[in-house]
Amino acid sequence: MKITYPYVGNSHIVIKNLLERFGNEVVVPPKPSKRTLSYGTQFAPEFACVPFKILLGTYIEALEMGADTIVSTGGVGPCRAGLYTTLQEEILKDLGYDFQMITLEPPGHYLKDLIAQIKKLINRKMSIREFWSIIRFVWEQLKLFDETELMSFKIRPLEIKKGETTRVYREMVDLIASAQTVKELREIRHEVNKRFENIEIKENYDPIKVGIVGEVYVVLEPFANLEIEETLGELGVYVERSMFLTHYTINNAVTDLFHIKGEKNVKKAAVPYFNEMCGGHGRESVGHTILYAKKGFDGVIHLSPFTCIPEIVAKSILPAVSKDYNISVLSISLDEQTGKAGLRTRLEAFVDLLDKKRQKFKERMA
């Protein structure tokens, strides 16, 4: 059995560790590239959302590299993501690939199934203690990835030498990836802090603050959002993002198990506008936008795959939110034609607008 899985942000490293320590042979999925997307576009239905296409392309590449098992997550709707694997399996089999698809459904709905599927993925004898120590290690690793990314968001807009933060960040990612034990992770955490502290930064500079909301895959995977956070950071913008990998895992596995629906305060903020759980992250997009407005952010960028259903609902409501809370919102819908240069131009214009708005506000206050 050679296992592969979806590529999202830095999680591929963590998943590799997890699966290998469970005694599996792993084919690490390649980082999504133009080629991945072109495979996806070629074999996916035209109206599939970009995440579907990138994942399909990734699977094709991994199957070509010798994988014979695909592990992915399911879901229960109402949006499409939970049906991805059903259709991807059909498409790939139709293309002639021979493999098995293991779909991990959220535990709250199909706990028995989930346990059965997980058992398939544990292919060596281990004690319960060993099991938990593996879980603990990968969880710590995932957390450290998130923390490191968060730090890069804070430092990047302040850096004096353009690109330095990104360089350090990439180095740190490799370092974290190489860790083998929790103890090593602890040492690396110090190193990360030190390296970021050593980056030379501007003093007394109050960067424009922008929150990023939207559909989970395009928010989390830099290839899908054309590295928007880096671009913004280099434009001198402080970026905060509504979602991190650790959150995502907690929300989908842990809260689901106990039937807790979504993050409470986000939901509460959204309710006056968005009364229904529409699947995906549509309601969270509205809720987070309101929370960012309340925290005094200058603007919000709303990312969604083209034709993404819940985000279309969100997009219809955001203009009203933007007016009521006086926060600028830029909606960007991503498809395979979106180019990095075009995106950069739109971002520059948006940041410009936010800057002007701030100046005006200051003049009025003075």
Partner: protein, 313 residues
């Protein structure tokens, strides 16, 4: 007192029920005018560009009612079958309408979710009824009558009639065709460019999902590894499976909307299944720009091909 009913989306599944209910309460109903270019253009203007055509059209129909009525009825249909919800856009419909259209009259937006128990519909009817009358008996009667009218309406479909288009299925024809799609695509003359009528004129016998009984559809439920999440989509898929298995079927036409979220899954699953069973399959994607002539040619070519196949077989 007048309540407006937009002629779009679930209108085609439930219209007689809505109408009967309000009229038995003594409230007049006004249906928005049949779709025209103007109605659609209005909807397009009010909605975000990547919304699907039917949702844009719904906004156009709501706008059409402005000035003609005291309320507009925009229910939030969540779930009516205990296994799947409606497309997420239905779930967010009242919110989208509220924040997209200016100068709206008050909306009546009951949330309908049968997962809340068997009395859900009665409860919803009661709360709407109380807006217009204190007479509980009257509300209850209106509720009963409305259900009866829905049953009659559904029965007509099962007998092969299509009440919204006022046509009846041809029974003995050389060609047996499934025209699968959501009711608000198939039965809107403007949006579908009269697709069903065109097929009838070509002399083929056409079956739509509404013509297959609930029981027959349910029998096909286990054919997919995972039940789809959306009410209408399950109807379409199961009708296809039913027809593959029980009707000596010549071909399938899947009618879908540009920008439809669920349909990229439905369409591909149908296509692959038809391929496995060697049944010819055609997808018609409708958008604001589809031309009537082009559609006619494609349908003719498809039916010709089916006839040729029949003869060679």
């Amino acid at each position: 007192m007048k309540v407006g009913i937009p002629r779009a989306l679930f209108y085609y599944s439930f219209y007689p029920m809505f109408k009967t209910f309000f009229e038995k309460l003594g409230v007049k109903t006004v249906v928005s005018s049949p779709t025209t270019k103007k109605v659609l253009d209005n909807g397009i203007k009010d909605t975000v560009t990547d919304a699907c055509v039917p949702v844009k059209l719904y906004h156009g129909h709501v706008a059409d009612l402005i000035g003609k009525v005291d309320f507009v009825f925009v229910p939030r249909l969540v779930c009516i079958d205990n296994e799947a919800t409606f497309c997420p856009k239905f779930l967010g419909l009242p919110d989208m309408v509220t924040y997209s259209i200016d100068n709206l009259p008050p909306l009546i937006t009951p949330r309908i979710d049968f997962r809340n128990g068997r009395l859900e519909l009665l409860k919803v009817c009661y709360s709407i009824g109380r807006m217009f009358t204190k007479n509980v008996v009257k509300i209850f009667k209106a509720y009963q009558e409305s259900i009866k009218s829905l049953k009659n309406y559904e029965q007509e479909f099962l007998e092969g009639k299509i009440p919204p288009l006022n046509i009846k299925k041809r029974l003995n024809s050389d060609i047996n065709l499934g025209a699968l799609g959501y009711p608000y695509m198939l039965y809107d003359q403007y949006l579908s460019l009269n697709l069903l009528k065109k097929l009838f004129d070509l002399g083929v016998s056409v079956t739509t999902p509404e013509m297959i009984s609930r029981e027959d559809k349910l029998k096909q439920a286990g054919k997919l590894k995972k039940t789809l999440f959306w009410h209408y989509s399950n109807g379409v898929i199961r009708t296809a499976f039913h027809m593959f298995e029980n009707c000596n079927i010549d071909g399938i036409i899947h009618v879908t909307a540009f920008g439809c979220g669920p349909d990229f899954i439905v369409d591909k699953l149908l296509e692959l299944e038809a391929k496995k069973r060697s049944v010819p399959f055609l997808t018609i994607t409708l958008d604001e720009q589809t031309g009537e002539e082009g559609l006619k040619t494609r349908l003719e070519a498809f039916v010709d091909m089916l006839r040729l196949r029949r003869r060679l077989a």
